[in-house]
């Protein structure tokens, strides 16, 4: 009897293991995820040169009064290349995405956008992680949703997919579209 209990225990353990692996594979669970400190808090201000023009400054205050996404990306990040097509789709759907090019070479970043298209309304250039650190970023890609009052309301670490979008972000945009119609 004790031997069977051990075997059953082993299979239960394997089952849990397989379940967790499956959820990790689908991108629903990431054991390296760090709970963000920013949900419900004012978004840190961004004030950095833009990617295309080092003399021009990007100031996050200019996006006040609307829902916007902040997407942290770099040419060195394979998942950023994968999610790019979906970002282009979001742009077509009218979602304002502010890009933050993190720890990158200017020329390489611009070349990537020339190749894949530019889904961003504005792009900040952050070679020394100053903005990334202010936002508690520890990997790329990472996407934040900021509301009209400048409060962070959602975040996703990892590639943005239609599934993730539906689950974490879409509802906010449907709601705001609805309220605009009633006003």
């Amino acid at each position: 009897m004790a031997r069977y209990a051990l075997l059953i225990g082993f299979f239960i353990f394997m089952g849990v293991f397989a379940l967790v692996l499956d959820r990790m594979g689908k991108g629903e669970y990431n054991p390296r995820d760090i709970p963000t400190e920013f949900i419900g808090k004012p978004a840190p201000q961004i004030h950095v040169p833009t990617l295309f023009d080092a003399d021009k400054m990007l100031n996050s205050d200019q996006f006040r009064g609307q829902l916007w996404l902040l997407n942290i990306w770099g040419t060195w990040c394979p998942e950023c290349w994968r999610e790019h097509a979906f970002l282009n789709e979001l742009k077509k759907a009218g979602v304002p995405i502010v890009g933050l090019n993190w720890r990158d070479e200017r020329s390489e970043a611009i070349a990537m956008l020339n190749q894949l298209g530019n889904p961003f309304v504005e792009i900040g250039f952050d070679p020394d992680s100053s903005v990334a650190m202010d936002w508690g970023v520890y990997g790329a890609p990472e996407t934040f949703l900021v509301d009209a009052q400048g409060v962070v309301i959602a975040k996703h670490a990892g590639g943005l997919t239609p599934g993730v979008w539906q689950k974490k972000f879409a509802a906010y945009f449907e709601r705001s579209a609805g309220s605009e119609q009633t006003q």
Partner: protein
């Protein structure tokens, strides 16, 4: 021969020292600042290689975070101010010794709870073994007693 091998060791040591100096060459205004810097990079966690501290990690973000710690110290920020700065951005997770509170309770006391459970299982197992061993002896002695009685 002995001299040769020790000379070789000295050569190797000097090599490793120059290498280290190349990796981390920072100048500090005073010894206290250097001390604070060393404590901070040892106690702050690298968010990329999560089982390493900032001092040990070569991840690019860790390099930037070390630079940030260094520049904040130069700005005259205290050790707690810098730790608070990182916690505000990365949460308690960034500290290798997070404060004891309800969310970190399992982290601090979980291992001891598991140790206790393990100890209880071990004790009950040993007790059971002892009991069955005793009963074996008992039946054997009983049999012997019986057979002795039968012989008579």
């Amino acid at each position: 021969m002995k001299i040769l091998s020790s000379l070789f060791c000295v050569f190797l040591f000097s090599f490793s020292l120059t290498l280290q100096a190349k990796v981390e060459s920072r100048e500090f205004a005073n010894a206290q600042m250097e001390e604070d810097y060393k404590t901070l990079v040892a106690e702050l966690r690298c968010l990329v290689c999560q089982n390493q501290n900032l001092a040990d990690s070569n991840a690019e973000l860790a390099v930037d975070m070390r630079n940030k710690v260094y520049s904040m110290l130069n700005e005259g920020k205290s050790k707690t101010e810098i730790a608070d700065f990182m916690v505000a951005r990365y949460g308690d997770f960034v500290l290798y010794r997070p404060p004891v509170k309800s969310s970190t309770f399992m982290l601090w006391f979980g291992p001891f709870i598991f140790l206790l459970i393990g100890a209880l299982i071990a004790i009950s197992y040993v007790r059971r073994q002892q009991k069955s061993a005793q009963s074996v002896v008992d039946t054997q002695t009983q049999k012997r007693a019986h057979s002795l009685l039968d012989d008579d």
